[in-house]
Symmetry: C2
Subunit: 405 residues, 2 copies
DNA sequence: CTACTTTGTTCAGATGCGGCACAAAGTGAG
DNA sequence: CTCACTTTGTGCCGCATCTGAACAAAGTAG
């Protein structure tokens, strides 16, 4: 009885409404067994069993009869639920200051295959995206996996619903480039199945951290990161990215964090953008940034290898204070229950977590029982994984419908 | 046929999942007819009809055979759906700087009855709330309406999940007073049916404006208001109040809006709280605030009657600029599709809408096709109506379940 | 080996909703 | 006034999805 491959399913169509939530639970690692799935979904064991069988039949998850972790030692051990590592994949691409990356990402945020990256970014979006999509198509051909769709992360705000890049600051793309349309067209032209999506890299990193990284379980997750120039932010509310009414939310770079600070192109002065990015750190430490390596890399190296240098130490404290002021402002407005920092901000947090916590607690209105937890991001390639999340989203929302075609 | 009171309902139990959304549509005036209800719910006419019949049987709405507005001139006219003005009510109370208000509020945000207010606020929350609840109980006895619950609006942030008042600034209540518990206890002691809720007044005003006022239809609604001292904010996302993870979101008073500004108790300087409230306006205009009338009243009078005075004019422009800077900062972070202003901010908007729009558009990062619409609030007693919304919420979420008891 | 606990499965219902056919109530053309 | 046309309201059937209860399975504790 309970033969594994025999598929003695009684009526073949059971559990539609709960399919999506169930898949999301397995996807985010919150349902290791059917027993947990039952509790998390708030349904009966009968329903959870039918739902799991249906997801298995769709090739998305596997039900392993080896006992799964979670329950107590008593009673019948529950079968292990896990993502099917031979299942479909999403094509993920990321464009950043130093090139692009392409990968295939399965459920659970697992990188199934990665293409060799590229070192420079041409000024023509169509050329970059064409190359990236072609690399992805080659990966798909090589792995012979079904593709559920494609996602792209770009270092720029993406306007909704147009899908244009509004401030591709550190890549030389034209302002207002229709990146979503270009990407979608290339994906279709390459014969890749499924829809194509485009989003801001920090937003997508936040989404990935929320589902698979340090943000798991957070209800209101704030992410702040700086990679090259300027500061990016993102907010995940109840599991969904908050991009605002036109995709421009969390442009946190122009919070005032230093009333005596340097002028910013926005018209103000002392903005987070010019007071807490890698260039600001190098300048504060009295270093001239060189053109050979990325600003983030230079700042990171300086922070790691010359932390004892008094000038570096002073610059670190100054940037922590500026960042803390910005975070405090965001805490007063958004009241998140967790903050995740990426890029150089992550390094600053590692360098002196006490100081950053103290500044945020001091300048946000209420300590909130010890202050908001501030954590470093934990995922490699979180923007890439987040881009894949975009492509997986329709499947998570309605597995049957999305995989029907 | 179609006899109005005969209730020839076939199976008596139809439409449960769609009941809540349907009631909310009628409640917010977005479903004037059954035809519109059908379209808005995305269900079939059969379902919409059953749902409407069920809501009518519950005594929440009325189906009037007179033709309702909305459809074209052709075809069979659709019956008018409206809130049953003899239906249940919610008890709403508001505490503000000059006393308290109590009212009964029906579906649709209609004030059914109002108790005479009170002129001063004792320093003991239990005494104030006891009096207010007693006044409400008297109203309920007089009207003999069923009560679905009670809601309270207070001029302070309310911590979640404790329900304590964190900054009852302009009423002399103790910081940390357990207002939610006190109110709930008084409501229960007075024999009033249904649960009791407590929220911040600006939050509740935003909720009311979103459902019945200038915010109707907005997806991401930002409200900013100043009544006495300090500035309050609120955000309604997809029809739900965003209060953050611990009820402290949208404490917008400490955005920096004037780098050369006066010091604030928060440790910064030039905060919105001290640069754009009624006291700031009076001071900027060179007036000494008197103790007899409320600061809001004094500022309002000055703005209305002496607008020609050069000092008043200068103060007005200064406050508009400060407010605009704060709004621009919020727009960069939240990207709302509508902004509503209340209290003195509403008067500032009326005084020179072009200037305010220009400042916000100039200092927020992207004009967004002409900038965010900024509107004055339109509801009388919006905090009071919002408090009632809290009490109505369980009914809107699950009419059958909430009215079953 | 025997209780006991917890998990998985089967089956019979309950229920909410879609689809369809038909009736009802208006408009406009002739 | 009549007839075609449009749109709305309702009865009925069926289907999909979930619950509940009974039973079987698989482990632990004694």
């Amino acid at each position: 009885m309970n033969g594994k491959g025999t598929t003695t399913r009684t009526r073949l169509e059971r559990g539609r409404g709960a399919l999506g939530p169930a898949l999301e639970l397995v996807h985010t690692g919150r349902a290791p067994t059917r027993a947990v799935l039952t509790a998390e979904l708030g349904v009966t064991r009968a329903t959870a069993g039918a739902v799991a069988a249906e997801l298995e039949a769709l090739g998305l998850i596997t039900v392993d009869s080896r006992p799964g972790a979670g329950a107590g030692s008593q009673g019948r051990p529950s079968h292990r639920l896990s993502v099917d590592d031979q299942g479909p994949v999403a094509l993920a691409a990321q464009v950043h200051a130093d090139g692009y990356r392409v990968a295939l990402v399965g459920l659970g945020g697992q990188l199934v295959a990665t293409a060799p990256g590229c070192g420079t970014v041409p000024a023509d979006p169509a050329q970059v995206l064409g190359e990236a999509v072609e690399a992805g198509a080659a990966l798909l051909r090589a792995t012979e996996r079904r593709c559920v769709g494609a996602g792209l992360a770009v270092p720029s705000a993406v306007a909704e619903p147009e899908g244009t890049a509004l401030n591709p600051l550190h890549i030389a793309w034209p302002v207002g480039a229709p990146v979503r349309d270009i990407f979608a067209e290339r994906v279709r032209a390459a014969g890749i199945e499924g829809p194509a999506f485009t989003g801001n890299d920090v937003n997508l990193a936040a989404l990935a951290e929320h589902r698979h990284g340090a943000g798991r379980g957070a209800q209101h997750l704030l992410c702040v990161a700086t990679g090259h120039r300027g500061v990016g932010g993102a907010l995940v509310l109840d599991g969904r990215l908050h991009t605002g009414s036109s995709g421009l939310a969390l442009e946190v770079g122009h919070l005032t964090v230093n009333p005596e600070g340097r002028p910013c192109h926005c018209g103000g002065k002392g903005c987070l953008d010019v007071e807490a990015d890698p260039l600001a750190f190098l300048t504060a430490a009295g270093r001239d940034p060189g053109p050979e390596v990325s600003l983030l890399q230079q700042a990171r190296d300086l922070l790691r290898t010359e932390a004892a240098d008094p000038a570096v130490r002073r610059a670190t404290e100054e940037l922590i204070d500026r960042l803390g002021l910005g975070l405090a402002g965001l805490v007063n407005i958004l009241n998140p229950d967790r903050i995740i920092l990426g890029g150089l901000h992550r390094e600053l947090l590692d360098a002196d977590p006490e100081r950053l916590h103290a500044v945020v607690a001091d300048r946000s209105l209420w300590g909130q029982g010890g202050g908001v937890p501030i954590l470093p991001c934990t995922l490699d390639h979180n923007s890439l994984v987040g881009a894949a999340e975009l492509a997986w989203q329709p499947v998570l929302d309605d597995p049957l419908g999305a995989l029907a075609r």
